[in-house]
Amino acid sequence: MFVFAASDKGGTGRSVTSSNLLYRSALQGNDVCYLDFDFGSPTAGAIFGIERAENGTTSGSGMHRFLLQEVYQPERIDVWTATDRRGIRDGQANTGRLVLLPGDVGGGDFPDRADLVGRCLELFLRLNEEFSLCMVDLSAGRNLAVEMVLKVTAMPEMQKITSRWLVFHRWTRQHVVAAGGLVNGPRGLLTIAEKSGHDRQQFANNLRYVRTAVIDPAPSTQSGLTAKQGIWLDECNRRLTRLAGEHQVGKNLLLGSVPLDPMLQWQEQLITDKDVVSGVANQETRNAFDLLARRLVDDSSWETL
């Protein structure tokens, strides 16, 4: 299965959420890989705690150069062994494979070249045989990478392979509107997908939203907030819910929400069970990632009305 992570704005927590989601999926026993298609600023290495590929690999065979056919094989990093974080390295049994295909340092955007599509298709088909879940992290906004993968997934060879889309947005007015625009707008994903040969409805059925850095207005988790802040949040939440419905970013298309976590606010990284046990990360955040990972592959979560 291929999952494409998109967002309209930067700073939505797209990369950190999809990395954590993938990490949980690997812990659940699935063989998974992460393709860093954020060519402008590949940061997945940093999130996985791999110092040598912090802002993309320096080996010269990252995703960018591979697609431009400058190298034959893309570099693969086994996260379990390559990570510098002991919390990730240690004591993981019965897990699936967790492989990162990093971007290149200073990659930049693509030229619009037809042969890229073929190259990308070839890569996808190969990875699909090896992994049960491939997460493709696309850079923010509408860009050539997005258009390329839409073309690739519309090709006959990809028809038998499930492709799902996750659109990440923060739970604020601007982000909700932007996410709705990214999908349904005049130059939105649905339109580009249709132009690339996808069935519009079917494509829409395979697209869900993920809300990130959400402050839950329920009183029990609002510790530290004054009553007035609580009321204000509650009212905002109510209005946002309505707004989201109007922009077709509503609950019925929501795959899950990730709460605001102080740890992720300071540093974008994987949250390990150890972090939770030692009390630096919130249990709710970890659970949200875990639930997302399960829902992502659970067909009943993808049923539509």
Binding site: G250, K251, N252, L305
Partner: protein, 633 residues
């Protein structure tokens, strides 16, 4: 109001689901078994709040509130809850159809007289209670489907929704036809027994009969003339012309004997086009089957009149109009029903408040029906109709308050707000309730052995509904408070009557918890629960409106505001803001509070006064420092 409708509606939802939803299936029936009325009531316990109280909406999955999802958790999430409701409703609407004819039988709600046994034909008779609840349920369902459909794209689901809407719409038409065929005009002469009783009831001033008859006919002149427009269904009459003729009108218990069939003119119109495109264009789109003959006595029954009047009101409610829930034919039937509704309201309001005397007939309980029966129940029922009339006419506070004190008396008489004594007759109003003998039902019994009767035990819940209705109409703060206090006390009574056994906990009704020596029940009465839910729904809607405003308080708030604003301006003039950042913060806060107070002074003078009081204290605190002894240099 201490009722907290939100909390209690949520509780009732939870309880209903716990009792009805077992192993992924809906179980019909309660204390009195399953029948077309009870099942509708059971379903409405969920659907009524969901369609009539904004925050309880379930038809827009994107906007469903978390508290609602939590209460209905066993039914699924925001997507599966409405789907399950659609399926349960579809089951209801297909359950009560016999060869395309929607049936409105009273079934297990019919009780035999004196231990005899009712025949199947008797139990299968259509009854007004079922017509009425079907109108409410169908409208709720159609509205629900209309809105929910906007979120549904899957073809299969859309088909299900279309089917449900068609079923509900057909049942609605059939129920409206049923109501048109059970309307009754009972005409009698002043010298007949009913005439004598009626005159006795209305003649509070002790005038000669002849004068009263003349008064009666002249006050109701327009109503009498309007009977010429009653041209379809039952209740048509030409006997009202006689100068000595008196009458009463309203709904009988079922389809009136010899009631003519109501011709349906329906041809497929805009709304149904989509679904009937395949059918022949000349055929009526809604097949309600043959219209059965009636047996019911041609006399209005107060209980059934109230039930019908309540339901008919739903046909021209704001929701029905805004969502356009009626098709063309139904609009025609609705107009016909509205005429009968108007006649009935005017008639009963006139009789109940007849004459210019200091005491209305209504204020001299118990009410006596024209067949000579007396009960506090009848007083409550007549009051209910009068309340509707006052709603319609925006009655004066004085009249509303008088009705309010009638309700207060009734609450006492029925031992809702008073303690009861052993053998108290007031207890009988709750259990077994008012016994209504359904005249005409003997016809279906071989050898005319068993007469069907109907037990009406909704007293306290009806009382709650009417208290809240009147409270909502009153614009006088104190009078409203009186009524709300009464509603609170009635609610306290109702809350104690909830079942306590685990499976059906928090559902109604267990009168034995309040009154001694009554039988105990295990299962819930949906009849009763639905009525309490309806009461809570009206309470919830009352709370969505702004509080009443006391004019004296507004004047006071503005007086305070003037002083505070002036003192504030003086403080600015002195340049106190430059003293320190902290002083500036205080002044900024004061300014914000003053602005807020001015903005709300007319709508919430109490809150505005409180804000200004705070401001005055702060300002005086600053000023006092200047005059303190230790400041003297």
């Amino acid at each position: 109001m201490r009722i907290e409708p939100r909390q209690h509606l949520l509780e009732t939802w939870k309880a209903t689901i716990q009792s009805s939803w077992r192993d992924g299936a809906w179980r019909w029936g309660g204390r009195d078994g399953s029948n077309s009325i009870s099942d509708a009531e059971q379903l409405l316990c969920i659907l009524l709040p969901a369609t009539q109280v904004g925050p309880f909406g379930l038809d827009r999955p994107n906007a469903t509130a978390d508290a609602m999802l939590e209460a209905l958790r066993p039914l699924g999430d925001e997507k599966t809850i409405p789907l399950n409701l659609v399926r349960i409703a579809t089951e209801y609407f297909t359950r009560y159809v016999d060869n395309d004819r929607p049936i409105f039988s009273g079934g297990s709600y019919y009780k035999p007289d004196d231990g005899a046994k009712l025949t199947e034909v008797q139990q299968a008779r259509d009854i007004v209670d079922s017509f009425a609840i079907s109108v409410t349920l169908s409208l709720a369902t159609i509205g629900f489907v209309r809105i929910f459909r906007q979120s549904v794209t899957r073809m299969g689901l859309r088909r299900e929704l279309r089917q449900l809407e068609r079923l509900a719409s057909t049942r609605l038409t059939a129920a409206m036809v049923g109501l048109l065929r059970s309307f009754s005009t009972h005409v009698f002469e002043a010298d007949d027994d009913p005439g004598q009783i009626l005159l006795q009831t209305v003649n509070k001033a002790g005038l000669p009969s002849k004068t009263v008859v003349n008064q009666f006919r002249s006050v109701l002149q327009e109503t009498i003339a309007s009977f010429n427009e009653v041209l379809i269904g039952s209740g048509q009459t030409e006997d009202l012309e006689s100068a000595n003729a008196l009458f009463e009108c309203g709904w009988s218990w079922g389809i009136v004997k010899d009631a003519p069939a109501v011709p349906l003119e329906y041809k497929s119109s805009g709304r149904e086009k989509e679904s009937t495109a395949a059918g022949a264009p000349d055929e009526p789109a809604e097949e309600i089957g043959p219209q059965p003959d009636g047996v019911a006595e041609n006399k209005p029954y107060l209980y059934f009149t109230v039930v019908a009047v309540d339901a008919i009101e739903d046909l021209f409610s704001e929701r029905t109009r805004v969502l356009g829930l009626l098709n063309e034919e139904q609009q025609r039937l609705s107009r016909a029903l509205q005429l009968r509704w108007d006649l009935t309201l005017t008639y009963w309001a006139t009789v109940a408040t007849f004459g210019g005397g200091p005491v209305w007939p209504l204020e001299d309980p118990p009410w006596q029906t024209t067949d000579g029966l007396r009960s506090e129940y009848y007083t409550l029922l007549v009051t209910s109709i009068v309340v509707k009339d006052l709603v319609r006419k925006r009655g004066s506070d004085a009249r509303l308050a008088r009705i309010g004190s009638v309700l207060s008396d009734l609450a006492n008489e029925a031992r809702v707000t008073r303690k009861h004594r052993p053998g108290d007759s007031g207890v009988k109003l709750h259990s077994p309730g008012l016994r209504v003998s359904l005249e005409g039902s003997l016809e279906d019994s071989p050898d005319e052995k068993a007469n069907a009767v109907w037990f009406v035990g909704e007293f306290a819940s009806l009382l709650l509904q009417r208290c809240i209705a009147i409270a909502g109409l009153l614009s006088d703060v104190e009078e409203r408070a009186v009524l709300l206090r009464l509603a609170d006390r009635v609610w306290d009574h109702l809350a104690r009557r909830r079942l306590t056994e685990t499976a059906h906990r928090k559902l109604w009704d267990q009168p034995a918890l309040v009154f001694d020596d009554l039988p105990e029940y295990e299962s819930p009465s949906w009849y009763y629960t639905e009525r309490v839910v309806a009461g809570l729904v009206s309470a919830a809607n009352l709370l969505s409106e702004e509080p009443l405003v006391n004019d004296r308080l507004v004047v006071r708030a503005f007086d305070l505001l003037y002083e505070a604003e002036h003192l504030y301006d003086m403080e600015l003039m002195r340049g106190s803001a430059d003293a320190s950042l902290e002083v500036m913060d205080v002044l900024t806060e004061i300014r914000a509070k003053l602005e807020r107070a001015r903005a709300i002074a007319r709508t919430r003078p109490g809150a505005a006064s409180a804000l200004v009081n705070w401001v005055l204290m702060e300002l005086d605190g600053l000023e006092a420092v200047r005059h303190s002894e230790s400041t003297a240099i």
